[in-house]
Amino acid sequence: MRVSIEKLSKVYRDRDGRQVIALEDVEFDVEAEEFVAVLGPSGCGKTTLLNIVAGLLPASSGQVTFEGERRPGTPLTATVFQEFALFPWRTARANVEFGLEELGLPGSERAARARRYLDMTGLAGFETRFPHQLSGGMRQRVGIARALAVEPAVLLMDEPFSALDAQTRALMMEELLAIWERTRQSVLYVTHNIQEAVYLADRVVVLSRRPGRVIEIEPIALGRPRTEAYQGDPAFIRAVDRIWGLIKAQARSALGEERG
């Protein structure tokens, strides 16, 4: 399905009662089978944007529309969370089955689907482990399997790898690309990491610091399937440099604010 985000704004009040504009007139689309990364510094409202798209937070103005054909019995979105958000009292398999339970699938189908997505994410043999018995990388695989298992029209990912160490992150990105090649799902992926955004996405939506506005939508002219070799590609480096140029000034002013 295609997601249209139109003139989306979000204003809320902070603890002192001051108005804070988190998002201002954000507008872009995610096409069917497209991988879009939303890139921005911390505090640019990326997570707010994702929550609005997921229907977990009301927008102050503007709207989000899903268009296109949807397979019956599948939800519009499913989210992979930064801090994994696994249920500690559920085993890996039971976590993956959570969304399937909410969809009302019968037990046998839940088990079959959970198995398929646990296998796809490399969790075979770990089904009966509780989250605290798994490494960070394994936990996020459960998070990804849980979101994929409900077969959402659009997969939402909120900095899914930022809580992982650098090596695990690199491996997980490769795995995510491999999975995406198989499922070809629309993905809205939020990150503050330029390399990550350019490496994964078809287009990168660059947001400004608060208030979050779209500065630029950068198409990434790299082939698919993406492999790590692309990270040395001149087109990759050019895209990273260009985006860094766009947000460097803002990052610098943020640094100054934090000092002062």
């Binding site: 929550n51 997921a54 977990l56 939800p75 979105t77 499913a78 989210t79 969370f81 801090e83 958000a85 249920f87 500690p88 009292w89 559920r90 959570f98 969304g99 909410e102 969809l103 509780f130 989250p131 605290h132 018995q133 849980r146 409900v150």
Partner: protein, 265 residues
């Protein structure tokens, strides 16, 4: 400067604590032996402090005559009923007050206002209302159990991770499923902490209730033995009560391991 060669020694050695297992056992056995000795050689008259072996003998006698089990059964019945009713009501109230803002607005001031009442002071009133039979005894235990259960459950529910609740909602969970699949499992460790507190309170109130107008129960046994100066029998009652305390602690630990496997594996 002088040339030196120094090997590092462990300067924190005196901070490390040893377990002294043998000493633990010896201390306990030593105390019992000393006690036995003190009564044998007549330092203290057996009327004031019967010997440990004497207490064990009396316990065995009361067990074989069946007298002990009559009292134990009566006490256990009151204890279980009071715990079940109080815990059921307390957990339900805690979940409701913790989750629904309207229930919180109604329940929180009510609980805060009634919580400080020493429950034992209500016993005469409860006897007036419910009679001197089982109902007043079970009710006072249930009341004593209700508050720690309600307050702990409430705290556990409020501590449920908002991220997990949001995750559940994002996968389509409604209110009932959020409570059943996220809020209650989150609160379980606090619920068990409440149960431990409540078990102690329940035992205390049980004995108190059985000392007022009962014809059976361990509390009755202790009071009656005291009135008749049967100190050995009295000590049997106390020993059984402390065993009940230990047993309930073990039972709750076992139950907790079963109910919260994600904390123990």
């Amino acid at each position: 400067m002088a040339v030196e060669r120094l090997t590092v020694i462990d300067r924190a050695a005196f901070l490390r604590r040893r377990e002294h297992r043998a000493v633990r056992v010896a201390a306990l056995l030593g105390l019992l032996a000393l006690w036995e000795l003190a009564t044998r050689i007549g330092w203290v008259p057996a009327l004031f402090l019967p010997s440990p072996l004497g207490v064990i003998g009396e316990l065995a006698g009361m067990a074989s005559s069946g007298q002990l089990f009559v009292h134990l059964a009566a006490s256990l019945r009151r204890l279980f009923l009071g715990l079940a009713v109080g815990a059921g009501a307390g957990i339900s109230a805690g979940v409701a007050v913790g989750f629904f803002s309207l229930a919180e607005a109604v329940g929180q001031p009510l609980i805060a206002a009634t919580f400080p009442i020493p429950k034992i002071a209500l016993l005469p009133l409860l006897i007036l209302w419910l009679g001197i039979g089982e109902a007043s005894k079970v009710t006072v235990i249930a009341l004593g159990v209700f508050f720690p259960m309600a307050i702990n459950t409430y705290t556990g529910v409020r501590q449920a991770d908002p991220l997990l609740i949001r995750a559940a909602v994002s996968f389509g969970a409604g209110r009932a499923d959020v409570i059943r699949k996220v809020v209650i499992p989150s609160a379980l460790p606090m619920v068990f902490a409440g149960l431990r507190l409540a078990a102690g309170t329940a035992l205390l109130l049980l004995v108190a209730a059985e000392m007022i107008g009962a014809e059976s129960g361990i509390g009755f046994l202790v009071l009656q033995a005291g009135n008749l100066m049967e100190t050995t029998k009295l000590m049997v009652g106390i020993a059984v009560l402390s065993l009940l305390g230990v047993a309930s602690h073990w039972a709750l630990s076992g139950l907790e391991r079963l109910a919260i496997p994600w904390k123990h594996t």
